[in-house]
Symmetry: C2
């Protein structure tokens, strides 16, 4: 892990007072006034496509004010292979034309005092971008931006030695969005029966062959969002919050930032097999989007859907990015608002029709999902917005009513939604059929699928622990069923299965709560007496029928089988919490009427306790600023579980970007001969 | 993991209303009125010693009232080897005499309402205990307690097939008390420099060859304490909170509960090599105590120290427990109050003298530690109570003054305390010398050491995140140095190194805090605006000198070297929290005057915000009952890292009890021929 050190940075800056060095960045990845993207410490897969963006900054004011705000337009940029070679001008090195000079201005706040005082620092920028390049020769490279006569920014790049032998035919990549080991532990507690401290069954994740940890931090902040982290997992590049497969430059345009090629694009380009995207989120959400889309702004939902079907340049169609997902063979999820003609869809058009016009089967419910053939590309959009949660689909089904979220946009309820398992198993069948038939290029060189349990994260955000754990258990059930299904169709031994998360939430169970006692107390502080810790945490109330004994003779299973709780709302509930949360109220009971809303906007315009949430609970003061009505992501390393060919590589502790390289190596995607 | 199910439990109980089934147990491990310890689902190492305790309960009142409170004294107990053999009376099976009948009464509250109403359930007990037995033949056993004519309690026991080949000569077992992966991630963030999302160095734990997870839950509650969890790690048996190497029976006597043999006792008995105990806690604390002591009450500190040196029966010296630690070769830690003649020491005597009388070198400071010879057994007690924290020994050294904690009891300050690294390296040298010389039996068959970073847990309890992470970094530094030292003395290839925790705390980092801005605000709610999340979390302020840029040219190290922060109190600090906490105040600044005290007792007798703690911070309301002035343990699985012979076995996900069996197998301790 020890890397080359940059000893050549601008000396004159070192003495400057940088009140904002560690937060409120002028631009992430660019601590000096000269910026190179991809930045220092970037690794590439051999042949992976990427853009280069150079920026030279001249702040007009603030602690870094420089040259009266006039940036050096005569900066130069060269690249050298190895530590001793000649540093060749980039145009010569890559055999491309000199790009046009671009100029713009942006502003930012150096710190919170400046924000309060409304005194932004204004920065003028001179920039160039080189598009759609690649490096194929493994080894170290040095890229140097020289500017302001005396300054240079040096980026050390490495093209990793690629695997030459392909180990895995198929890749099934599961993401439990926001899923941490404390959540897996809690899910095990409520779903798997334990007798005298010994579990009688285990999570499927517990039983995987290989275990690892990955570090989720971002390029320029130690907490990530799902766009940023998915970019790391799919491209092997750390980026910035909200960025999808681009480095965030300082320009306003969300579609001109420097791109990097994703695992899905590489799979299409180098192997040509079918790819699938499955998520319980709206399908333009960050984690599914990041397989195909390239934009600095994850909220460009219409563009994301456009990029699934068309080029990966979004609304900036003049750029020469040559690869795309070429229309994934399977797209299953929610998010009908990007397909129903209207404000959310690309150019306001009927985007179901756009997909159908390109030969897709288009389906809207589980009945159709089960019935649909496996030969054609298939778009399954099963609801407006995020799909319904496992608990609401299986336990509290009345909550599906009145949502007016039918994917066809007719204002009825999406009552017949599939679960993650339904979608994933069908996706396997379609991918497998298309991999072995003419329609899917038929080279039988395998398939690639990402399947996301999106609402682990979404329900943890709203402190709806039960729903989050329901989603986690559904993911585990899906993994179990997928393994069985792959065995049945003879592809298990050919398939690398990887399960991980993109980031965490600081959730943990710390005790038990007697919910009956809690509700019966009228005093806020006395309610907290219902919380039992250590020996008073008790045993799991979720795995036994109410009133029964925790012995073997009382093993019963709920209607959903042995891997789910027998009851979801026991008197003795687990008590859990977060490292950070908005103002809210806790009673540790199941939210009966659908996903929780812990905080709502008060008269002062900031977020306070939702007066209708857990009304019999006690108040818990928040630790976040008043704009946050939900919990937030956290720092902790997340687990990686893997089975199948190439899975041994997933053992141990590593960076999130390594997941990309490990999968790429299992597929030998970096082998130029491939 | 699928185990045999008990289909024969008392049918008449199943219909009873058991308001307390999941919490406020009558007796952990005994959901029916007949109790067998070791309970159902127990695994044994071949030849491991254990006691059996049988209890038949007759509650006088409450929901389980039975036979007017008269327990069946004519219960029978038989054991059968395999599923089909004859169930032989225990006296016949083990070739022992019938134990005397014991009788007692205890009471408990069925739930919190009963506690508030002061209406305990009273239970009369008839009991017998069989002492110091063992099972050597691998396979399944069934133990049956028959009582009340129609009832029986069945315990399925398994003697695991032991390893026949010894892989490891030495075992170095590190415990980071309370250490979770989120803490390791946070420690990495503050101590290891990252550039553009790539760490330039890593924790030693990150670099270990094998990674696993272990489940820490207890026998009868899903949250454990350190006594209970250490019992699992050292004996392979889940037990109850506060119990040290015994199953908790219902009698008042803390020294009559059924014992199980520990890894340290087994190492002494079967191999005869030297053993060492090192901890930064007072040495009678649960985690060190659990290597040698046997008592239901971890607070019997004097007895623990007595048991180190003498028999393992504590104050119940009539019991026939035949093994003990035989006086560990090395005991290093704090806790002078158990050695200075007075109320804390065994029988009020000078226990330094008791150790010296048995041939120990006795030392009291780091100077003496460095100077002491390696041939004799050595007792090093370096402070009253817990030892000083890393931050106070290295950064805020003035905090060592005025403590009046000198281990010699003269009321001066213990200024010359060693750290975990000092103690561990010296312990290795003593154990190695004694393993190869006549004094330590000299069979060169290796040594066993447990080294504990105790104050990760203690500082997390008091929400002193910085001190906790300092202790964690000291542990990591100790592991690194131990590996180097073992290589130097030629024992690295012979030594199994295992690092794990005994339980967690629900700690995680969720963002950054501008501590300057926070302190400058006067409004409670406005102070929370200082918390930055996602992109505003920023980069680590701990790895760079204040005001410098996060580039390679600014790599500097603090005085403690590359594996510790450059500064501990940066303007931009990490913001962290817990799933559960007492009322307290947060400002995210380093506690300058020593370990934090977040809450103190208010006028109402319960715990409230400490008015002198983080006075410039904002209030965070608690989520625990008013008796809790500290944070509490949590559920999450904890990491296991392992190197050396036998370490491959530590991969994957398993129960805490498996750690015992994995270490025992690496040493072939279960091999009867050993």
């Amino acid at each position: 892990m020890k890397r080359r050190s940059n000893t050549a940075a601008a000396a004159f800056l070192l003495g400057a007072t940088l009140v904002s060095a560690q937060t409120f960045h002028r631009l992430g990845g660019c601590p000096t006034l000269g910026c190179v993207f991809p930045p220092d410490q970037t690794d590439f897969l051999s042949g992976q496509l990427f853009d280069i963006r150079l920026e030279v900054h001249a702040p007009i004011n603030g602690s870094e004010a420089h040259n009266a705000g006039v940036p050096d337009e005569k900066f130069t940029f060269c690249i050298q292979n190895g530590s001793k070679g000649e540093c060749k001008n980039a145009t010569q090195f890559f055999g491309v034309k000199e790009p046009a000079l671009e100029k713009w201005t942006f502003s930012y706040y150096e710190d919170l005092f400046a924000r309060d005082a409304k005194t932004p620092a204004v920065v003028n920028v001179a920039s160039k971008a080189y598009r759609a390049l690649s490096l194929t020769k493994p080894g170290d490279y040095v890229a140097k931006l020289k500017y302001n006569n005396v300054s240079q920014t040096v980026a050390h790049w490495t093209v990793r030695q690629p695997a030459t032998t392909r180990k895995a035919k198929n890749v099934l990549f599961f993401i439990g969005d926001g899923m941490t080991q404390p959540m897996i532990t809690a899910a095990r507690l409520i779903a798997h029966k334990s007798i005298n401290g010994r579990y009688q069954s285990l999570m499927q994740m517990d039983q995987m062959d290989n275990l690892g940890h990955q570090m989720t931090h971002s390029l320029d902040s130690f907490i990530t969002d799902s766009a940023n982290s998915a970019t790391a997992l799919y491209t092997g590049k750390k980026s910035s919050v909200n960025a999808l497969n681009v480095y965030a430059d300082s320009s306003k345009n969300s579609f001109d930032d420097p791109k990097v090629e994703t695992i899905a694009e590489l799979f299409r380009r180098r192997i040509g097999g079918p790819i699938g995207i499955v998520s319980t989120a709206y399908i333009a959400d960050a984690t599914p989007a990041a397989l195909c889309a390239h934009t600095r702004d994850r909220n460009q939902y219409a563009a994301v859907v456009y990029e699934y079907l068309n080029s990966a340049n979004g609304w900036n169609t003049s750029l020469p990015w040559p690869t795309s997902c070429e229309g994934p063979d399977v797209i299953f999820g929610g998010g009908a608002e990007q397909f129903i003609a209207g404000p959310g869809s690309p150019n306001g058009t009927d985007y179901y029709k756009a997909f159908a016009d390109k030969g897709y089967n288009v389906i809207w419910n589980n009945t159709a999902l089960q019935a649909v053939g496996t030969s054609k590309k298939t778009l399954g959009i099963f609801s407006v917005s995020n799909m319904a949660k496992w608990i609401d689909r299986h336990v509290l089904t009345d909550n599906l009513k009145g949502q007016k979220n039918s994917p066809n946009g007719d204002g009825t309820d999406a009552l017949d939604q599939p679960g993650l398992k339904d979608m994933t198993l069908k996706a396997i069948d379609i991918l497998q059929a298309r991999a072995t038939s003419g329609n899917g290029k038929g080279n039988n060189k395998g398939w690639f699928m990402m399947s996301e349990a999106a609402s682990i994260d979404k329900m943890m955000h709203v402190l709806d622990y039960d729903r989050a754990l329901g989603e986690l258990l559904e993911l585990d059930d899906t993994i179990r069923a997928s393994i069985e299904h792959l065995k049945k169709i003879g592809e298990y031994e050919n398939t690398l299965i990887v399960i991980t998360a993109d980031h965490g939430h600081g959730f943990d169970v710390f005790g038990g709560a007697d919910t009956k006692y809690l509700a019966a107390q009228t005093d806020e502080r006395k309610k907290r007496d219902a919380i039992g810790v250590y020996e008073s945490s008790g045993l799991s109330g979720y795995t036994v029928a109410e009133g029964s004994l925790p012995t073997n003779d009382t093993i019963v299973f709920g209607s959903e089988g042995p891997n789910f709780p027998v009851q979801w709302n026991p008197r003795y509930a687990y008590a859990a919490g977060f490292g950070a949360n908005p103002d809210h109220r806790e009673s540790y009971t199941l939210n009966q009427n659908g996903p929780r809303v812990p905080a709502t906007k008060g008269d002062d315009g900031t977020m306070h306790v939702n007066p209708t949430d857990h009304t019999d609970g006690f108040n818990v003061g928040g630790t976040l600023d008043g704009t946050q009505g939900q919990g937030v992501h956290s720092l902790q390393d997340v687990s990686v579980f893997a089975n199948g060919p190439g899975s041994e590589a997933f053992r141990g502790v590593y960076n999130s970007i390594d997941i990309f390289f490990k999968i790429a190596d299992a597929l030998a995607l970096g082998n130029a001969k491939n």
